[in-house]
Symmetry: C2
Subunit: 211 residues, 2 copies
Amino acid sequence: MARRNDHSRDEIRAMALSAAEALLDREGVAGLSTRKIAAEIGYTVGSLYLVFDNLDDLILQVNARTLAALAEWLDRAALAQPDAAAGVRALGRTYVRYADRHRSRWELIFNRQRASDAVLPDWYLQSVAGLFERVERQLADYAPQRTAADRSLAARVLWSGVHGVCTLALSDRLDIAGIAEAERLTDSLIENYLAGWVNNSGEWQMVREDT
Amino acid sequence: MARRNDHSRDEIRAMALSAAEALLDREGVAGLSTRKIAAEIGYTVGSLYLVFDNLDDLILQVNARTLAALAEWLDRAALAQPDAAAGVRALGRTYVRYADRHRSRWELIFNRQRASDAVLPDWYLQSVAGLFERVERQLADYAPQRTAADRSLAARVLWSGVHGVCTLALSDRLDIAGIAEAERLTDSLIENYLAGWVNNSGEWQMVREDT
DNA sequence: ACCTGAACACCGTTCAAGT
DNA sequence: ACCTGAACACCGTTCAAGT
């Protein structure tokens, strides 16, 4: 066990992240712990703190990997779609499938509450923004006449909506039975939202009651 | 402190649930613990286990109260709306506002992973279904020509979508800055989805590629 | 310099023992 | 019968001590 200079800091970091992913896949989000990760890589808990600030930092780096993998899935899916509407649908379905396939890794991104003072680092926020821009790019194709602000809002609505379907589907709520149902809901969301949106000047957004 | 027969089981149960809510509001989801709840009501941890199966059971009963309160908010909001579309929008906004106002209680419903074998009791699932039916009822008004299955799907899409907006907005993702932005996204989601949906025969749902 | 091992302050849960 | 107090098996995090 305990040894010196067997691994560089970067090696230990990489080993820990892989061990965390394995643990996550095997035991779920609740099964993740610094002590288990340390045991898995043959080091003591203390050593993890030489390489990570704390568990939240470690998790953030696992999440970064997850986001990168999701980005690859999305890029593959968006390729070779007949049109932009199909592109958006493909992105939505791919998100659902990724979440289903790597459920615990996906849950880890959302199901952990960080300390409220802990601000997400810039590189992380940009990684999230990158995912989100893939939707915006499809929308630019789909509705070039709309303003960038309109498209940005629509992209956020669609992204949030698909995310919501995933959240409820993968936790078996609303009788959304598994991935097939989740994909149906995602299709319906995107198809109908886009149909309404493309015919909509955006002016209704000015009409807000003060209820 | 330690006393006998000061309170009935039901009284202890009610005290514990109230203490849990207070703790939740004060310290957030992460601040909730059996030991703190017990201390707050002047009993020992062990006593909680005479009245609840375990922490998950206690949380489930806190969640039931939260759902009941949300149902009241939704009912008040749906009253006196000019039409069904406005009714759906009012439900959406009210959901967002409730989540914002009682953030920790709302998070508790979703942010805790129960053991995978733990099945939600029937009374709880029916309470969730009840919320959801409020949307379906508005949709029945809005599009009486659509089948019940169509409306059920649309209601789930809208509910999931609004939920997704909340999730991402209240965790400050996608640059969704707080409740005002969340309400804008919710409005856009509902308005455009309904516009697309009401003009849509539903046949596109049959056209599914096998990507 | 690198890593350990033990400590600290917390958890959820159980259960013999007290009244 | 009701409730406690201590125990058990876990946590995340820190840090003096060892090599």
